[in-house]
Amino acid sequence: MTPLPPPADLYLTEVDGIPTLFAYATGPMRAGLVFRVGVADETLARAGVTHLVEHLALYRQGLADYHFNGATKAAFTHFHVEGAEHEVVAYLQGVCASLVDLPMDRLETEKEILRTEESRREDPQLPLWRYGAQGYGLVGYPEWGVRNLRPDDVRHWAHTHFTHGNAVLWIAGDRMPAGLSLKLPEGGPRRPMPAVTSALPHSPAYFSDGRGGVLLDAVVGDSVAARLYAGVLERELSRALRQEGGYSYTAATDYTSRRDGHALVTAFADSLPAKQDAVLGGFVDVLAGLQAGRIGQADLEAVRTRADGTLTGHDSAVRRLPGAAEDLLTGRAPRGVDELRSELWAVTPAHVHAVALEAAGTALMQVPAGHRADWAGYTAAPTSSPYAVTGRRFGAGRGDGNAPALVIGDDGVSLTAAAAAKDGTQEAATVLYRSCAAVLSWPDGGRRLIGTDGIMVDVEPGAYGVDAHTMASIDVAVPPDAVIRLPPRPQQPKAQSARSQSQTQTQSQTQTQVQPQSAGAPAGGEAPAVRRTGRQTAAVVVFGLLSGLFAFVALAFTVFGDDPQTSTGEWVGLSGFLWGVTALLAWPAVRILRRSRR
């Protein structure tokens, strides 16, 4: 019997000049090819190009028996496989060959598949509020760029990002696979990490959103203590909100290293609609407890023991490989288990407390609609721009000066709120052409400009009466690369206040809202559908029932009332009267149904 090699450490080697991490493992061989490219490297107008390359690179694998997959993340793209040695070799060499020569005949089909995948996915909101419509914020947006990508664009992206110098391989098995050769596109050196942008002038910050529950993330230094903080926070949230309070069913946290020396701690607690206020209050208090230094030693030990179990488990090395590959791509060498364990056991409550304080300073919290977090010291994240551009002004509809107005200037566009505040300032959403992340462009002339800060302005020439010449000036002024051409839309939207836009357009949600000062119907069209109130629902039921009753009486009289004792004239008159009453009763219900939505 041969002695087993030390199981838990990672070994650094090379395959065709590509840095390779190896770990001994039994069972089927596992491998991953990782590139330093992801969504955060894209622009909003090209969003999805990395994902598209990943799909195209896997197409030729077809319906292989072995297990394989691909994953496009914020800053990394993974190709993963599990199977017999020859299968792993075939997969890796196949992926590399495809990256050199992508199957462009599949381009349109894979675009369709991406659209289907997208329709099932819910885009996270925190990234766009934190980072804006660029860099790490792009994971919160739809893959708008995919539609207009031409074969050359995709090929260029693959040959500049999925390159020999920008890859790391990892293998877990009983030996390095024989005959493995990886031929990737040449290309420049390793890509630097994406720039970290910010759309938050102040933190901690918060925003309100319709969904229930409380969601928070915070940027902290990437460390073992921070990882343990996330674990301790989860235990405290579960205890306060689920076990003791009974306000939440789920309370959970997550820790994701950004691999640039920082990590994101995410915390979530769901809520019954009736208990949202208590969930928010309890959430704030749990965070405050940790910030005040109340770190339970028992909690810390429980979280530490679990982390240690992961490090010493039989598949510890294999689990660490994908992350270690990402680290290697950012110039960080793999670390030994002993080193990681000694670091783990050195963490004290004071270290965790320091992380809690760091997290308190960078937190971004999503609270349920109708709630705020300013009382707890969180600043409202911006939902409008600090200024409006000057230029030609287009009022919606009647132009009574009270409606929202569109301003089109030389530098950009602004949508100003219905009325100016008392101090003369006016809330506005502004997108400058030079910092325009994307322009959605419809064939009917409508445009949506999205700034790199995430603020967006809809320019609807029909609703605001913008002439063709002015519209053309916008198309000329925006960066050509930012334009996204979309197919015809079913309906051209009416002029709406920016706020109702955000209520009706759930996809592509960004921070548009110029809060209208008056809730009246915007000029130029019907009142936007607003949420139906309980009283309105009751009215619908009452009037609906009454009109139904009268309709029955009217119908009965119309059918059976024409007997010999009544003249035809009387019969016509009375029938008409009964139907008239029915219509009068039905009208309010119909009106409410048309004006509101559930």
Binding site: L280, G281, A288, G289, A292, W375
Partner: protein
């Protein structure tokens, strides 16, 4: 009848609204605050036996004009001083309410509301820290019930705060009185929950405890919310009368009634509600227990406090 005239027509001494008359330590606390002797104040309050309603002392200190001027730097220098955080938080609430004034909401300007909310937010953040540092600190939770109400954080959130406190202090009179306000319809609650909470507080407290006064207070709130003849009709209902009598017999009229912090207010609530019901013998018993001690509340619900106190006391003692 003017206050002076009312007092003059009575053969009994005028009401004494001074808290220090019932609790001499109030004078000591005020003097210590005037001397900015924080160490002594802290030593005194920290030394109170566990279970003492610390809100009483905190409220006394928070009423001291200008105390924020030296408490703010003190808290900045000692951010872990739970008592200092609590007193300053309570003081910020008071300053906010002074800006708002006690006028009805429609007579309060936007700027006044903004001032109130700004001070409530400051208070809340001090108090969040206080309860985070010591989750069993009753006085900080009591203030947070008030900030939750003023900032309109919601019924469940107010109740959550009370529950956090009640876990350590199940019969905390100051906390129950503040939560009762939140539970009333005027603060988006309901009579069902307000009456339910008052009854729950009565029954869970030991015999002779002050907590039964919540039953008297909730009926006074209900009475106050009605108009004209409805008011009298409300208190004449048999079940209302029975509830108030039961509560009084378990608290203010119990032979072992506990005269802790807040007892003058508790006794006064029963005196007022029995007077309004026309149950003069029981009202008289309450007035006898009070002597000339009085609290602004609930007499301010009935009119000018001194005048109404004297009128109802004299009427009760003449017959009862």
């Amino acid at each position: 009848m003017s206050q002076a005239a009312a007092a003059a027509s009575s053969s009994l001494p005028p009401p004494d609204f001074e808290r220090a008359s019932a609790f001499p330590e109030v004078t000591w606390l005020r003097n210590a605050a005037a001397a900015r002797d924080w160490a002594s104040i802290r030593q005194y309050i920290d030394g109170l036996p566990f279970g003492t309603d610390r809100s009483f002392a905190v409220v006394v200190l928070a009423e001291v004009d200008g105390i924020e001027e030296w408490l703010r730097p003190l808290v900045a220098a000692a951010p872990d001083d739970v008592l200092a955080l609590t007193v300053l938080g309570s003081r910020e609430v008071d300053i906010g309410w002074e800006i708002r004034t006690s006028a009805r909401a429609e007579h309060v300007s936007k700027a006044q509301f903004a001032g109130l909310h700004a001070h409530l937010r400051q208070a809340e953040q001090l108090l969040i820290r206080a309860t985070a540092l010591d989750p069993s600190y009753d006085a900080a939770w009591v203030e947070r019930i008030t900030t939750a109400m003023g900032l309109q954080l919601g019924q469940n959130e107010a109740r959550r705060r009370y529950d956090r406190l009640a876990k350590h202090h199940p019969h905390h009179l100051s906390a129950q009185r503040r939560l009762l306000q939140q539970l009333c319809p005027k603060w988006s609650g309901s009579w069902e929950s307000a009456h339910g909470f008052a009854r729950e507080s009565l029954l869970s407290a030991p015999e002779g405890a002050m907590n039964g006064c919540l039953v008297a207070e909730v009926h006074l709130e209900h009475w106050l919310s009605l108009k004209g003849q409805e008011r009298e009709a409300y208190l004449r209902q048999e079940h209302v009368r029975a509830e108030v009598v039961e509560a009084a017999e378990r608290s203010a009229l119990h032979p072992h009634f506990h005269r802790g912090y807040g007892w003058v207010g508790a006794q006064s609530s029963f005196a007022a509600v029995f007077s309004l019901m026309g149950d003069l013998p029981r009202a008289a018993a309450c007035f006898r227990a009070l002597g000339n001690l009085a609290s602004e509340h609930p007499w301010n619900y009935l009119g000018e406090p001194a005048e109404t106190f004297v009128r109802h006391r004299d009427a009760a003692l003449a017959k009862g």
